[in-house]
């Protein structure tokens, strides 16, 4: 009989969903059973089902979702100790009968190959799954040129969003002359709505270390730096542990596996500035300066960190590398379409039934990702748009749901692939409010170097503010478009150049909604506070006074057991009354 292993998902999403007390309970329940191993694993991607507990027994694996301190008792008693699987809350099953099996089966897991499976704090578990085999292969039997050519042949492109061929980037850095070179991992994931980098860093840190070391070998660098967001404390902790372990085992450090190749790695914590995701700004930040971009050329491949040749890739890009070396470029390029090869990880969030991380072959239609894998829109609501690419991206409307997810097709819609955040919006989302949200974000995060970005986005934000207040003019649309083009042309770096995208795409696909705000002074999604009113239906109101008690500004009056009224001039549109009404008598107009 094989050993029983109980896994618990302890990524930061799992912990946020309440995995810690479940883990504590699990440990208490299994105290007298040293033969049963409890393993803390990262996020498997089924975030909407967390906390997750998986039982591996007799070669079978069963995963339970929404586990609580109470339900974990049943799992332990019945299944772990009793050998009888429970039917309720069965999420994934190695027999294929779990409720989430179909959506997992549609995925291809290259980047997420170990996430949710291994304990990120234990290097042996990574090695068991062929970890560091690729590095071994590279340093013992390949030349630098063979390595970057293999990566180039695979068709891997930068997963941070820009989509530049990774192998080519490596080749440039390799050909660049310099006694000292750097490999940098951009783990600054600042895109609101994206969390794939966090999951990989937390759940499979060795994959990043191995990918970076291979890159170091390919370009001739001996130093690696992981620039990681300080907002991701668990990722930093797990990376630190992984780096120490890799050093102890000789996968990092001097003369790796007796090959003569040396590579050290350290972590640099980001300090919270979105613009640092831009590579020249990131380099400035590593050097301890304000993270302001500079013009290119020189490109980082010629002059990067401290003026030395530097290669910068995103977390997800590095996470692909060891797999490509181990399985060959042909195996990788089997997936995908056109110039987009391999897989892409997407973070599904927003108005979606099954939010979480998914990894699919490039070219899958957006519809399939959202409906077949993401479970569609909850509460019977209508799909309105999906926002891709964060502040640099745009909103893709319903008519374009069959667009395949590959770099070129997504770009053609006006959005971008970006790092892979997909925020789904339903009929209850106001597109002007969304455009304003992104503009206020870039306005906050603009480094201020270029006037177009600094002042142009501010002017655009003012116009959008006016429109959401019902004070827009018809000429505002043309003014916005003019500003969009000027900011695109006049900005130095990607932040400014792409900042107008959310506005451009919402004007392109949702002009009706702009006109409703401007001409009719109406917010069709009933979101914009200045354009909506809360009203009580006197027929339905039972006079329970709950709304009046909950109103923070005393805008509701009425006698007990008699219909109440809201004074629109005092109301601040917080919506507390609507939430507190037990009979649904309050509506928004």
């Amino acid at each position: 009989m094989s050993q029983t292993i109980v896994k618990i998902g302890m990524g930061s999403c799992g912990i946020a969903a309440g995995a810690r007390p479940v883990e504590a309970k699990l440990r208490t329940l299994l105290e007298g059973h040293p033969e049963i191993e409890i393993r803390k694993v990262g996020c498997i991607g089924l975030c909407f089902q967390e906390p997750l507990v998986e039982v591996e027994m007799d070669g079978k694996s069963t995963m339970y979702g929404h586990v609580t301190e109470e339900s974990v008792e049943d799992i332990v008693k019945e299944h772990v100790l009793g050998g009888k699987r429970l039917d309720q809350a069965l999420v994934l099953d190695s027999d294929g009968s779990g409720m989430e099996n179909p959506r997992m089966d549609k995925q291809v897991r290259i980047v997420l190959r170990n996430c949710g499976i291994i304990d990120p704090e234990k290097i042996d578990e990574y090695i068991e799954r062929e970890g560091y085999d690729a590095l071994k292969k590279v340093v013992s039997s390949m030349t630098s040129e063979q390595v970057y050519t293999e990566v180039l042949d695979s068709g891997l492109r930068g997963r941070g969003g820009a989509g530049f061929p990774t192998g080519l980037k490596w080749k440039f850095a390799n050909l660049s002359k310099g006694d000292e070179k750097y490999v940098v991992c951009n783990a600054d994931e600042g895109d609101p709505g994206a969390f794939m980098d966090r999951s990989v860093l937390e759940g499979d840190p060795h994959a990043i270390i191995e990918g970076m070391a291979i890159c170091g070998y390919a370009i001739g660098a001996n130093h690696g730096i992981i620039y990681c967001r300080a907002e991701y404390p668990l990722a930093i902790k797990n990376l630190n542990i992984a780096i120490e372990q890799a050093k102890e085992r000789g996968f990092l450090g001097d003369d790796i596996m007796g090959s003569g190749f040396s590579f050290d790695l350290k972590i640099k914590e980001g300090a919270g500035a979105f613009v640092c995701g831009e590579e020249t700004a990131l380099i400035a930040s590593i050097e301890g300066k304000r993270g302001m971009p500079r013009p290119r050329p020189p490109f980082p491949a010629q002059s990067g960190v401290f003026g030395k040749p530097t290669n910068i890739n995103n977390v997800e890009t590095y996470a692909n590398v060891a797999w490509i070396i181990r399985n060959g470029s042909k195996e990788f390029s089997k997936y995908g379409i056109g110039k987009s090869r391999g897989t892409k990880v997407f973070a599904l969030a927003g108005k979606i039934a099954k939010g979480g991380l998914v990894e699919v072959p490039m070219g899958m239609p957006i519809r399939e990702v959202i409906y077949d894998i993401g479970g569609g829109i909850p509460d019977g609501k209508e799909f309105k748009a999906v926002q891709m690419g964060g502040p640099s991206g745009g909103c893709i409307p319903k008519e374009l749901l069959d667009t395949p997810v590959d770099y070129e097709s997504i770009n053609a819609t006006g959005a971008i692939m970006g790092s892979g955040g997909m925020v789904v919006m339903d009929e209850g989302t106001c597109m002007i409010d969304v455009a304003r949200f992104f503009l206020s974000f870039v306005q906050n995060e603009s480094c201020g170097k270029c006037p177009f970005c600094r002042i142009g986005t501010k002017r655009m934000l003012e116009i959008l503010d006016r429109i959401t207040k019902g004070e827009g003019k018809e000429s505002d649309i043309d003014l916005l478009l003019e500003l969009c083009h000027q900011i695109k042309d006049g900005s130095l770096c990607g932040l400014g150049q792409t900042a107008p995208n959310p506005v451009l795409t919402t004007i392109k696909y949702f002009k009706d909604e702009y006109m409703a705000h401007i001409v009719d002074h109406r917010c069709p999604a009933t979101v914009c506070p200045s354009l909506i009113h809360y009203v009580i239906d006197p027929e339905k109101c039972i006079g329970c006074t709950k709304c009046a008690k909950n109103c923070p500004v005393d805008a509701i009056s009425g006698e007990i057991k008699k219909p109440h009224v809201i004074d629109d001039t005092i109301c601040i549109r917080c919506g507390k009354c609507k939430v507190s009404c037990p009979v649904g008598a309050i509506s928004v107009e």
Partner: protein, 163 residues
């Protein structure tokens, strides 16, 4: 800028010399240096920056330039619990603006401020990466998800009770 408190040079050297030693002679250290000052004082204290800048031969203006560029650094002390309300896209479409408003109203402070009793500091952050639990806020090191305005107040009151 004028310093509101004056510490003796003895006290400054006791608290800051270990930090200075850690970074002396290394390059590209302004951010971790400021982070260590913030760890020591709870914020980037002006007198500490002045002291360190002399010792390290980095101008104080450069250090403040860096400190004010990044969201991580604060020039004011903060409360016992820092509330970080996520204002990412997923949280936004799930109603984080109303959570943020309710919290600000309940605590009687604006974003960036600290309550008079020194218990809470309110911050908005770009994205915490817990999008599937949106809307989300962090209180200290703990993440709380699937918030509604009333639920967020309950959570904060629990922290207040703990003191």
């Amino acid at each position: 800028m004028s310093s509101t408190t004056t510490a003796s040079s003895n006290e400054l050297s006791q608290r800051l010399d270990p930090i200075v030693q850690r970074y002396q002679g290394k390059k590209g250290i302004t951010i971790p240096l400021l982070a260590d000052i913030q760890k020591e004082y709870g914020y980037v204290a002006e007198e500490a920056v002045t002291y360190v800048s002399k010792k390290m031969d980095i101008s104080a203006s450069e250090m403040f330039g860096v400190a004010t560029f990044y969201a991580m650094f604060r020039l004011q002390p903060e409360g016992k619990y820092v509330i970080r309300i996520c204002r990412g896209t997923a949280c936004h479409v799930q109603g984080s603006a109303s959570v943020a408003e309710e919290v600000a109203r309940h605590l009687g402070i604006e974003e960036g401020e600290t309550t008079e009793d020194g218990i809470f500091t309110l911050q908005h952050v770009a994205c915490l990466g817990c999008c599937s639990l949106a809307p989300v806020m962090m209180v200290g090191d703990n993440v709380h998800g699937l918030l509604t305005p009333p639920k967020s107040i309950e959570i904060l009151e629990d922290y207040r009770k703990k003191g």
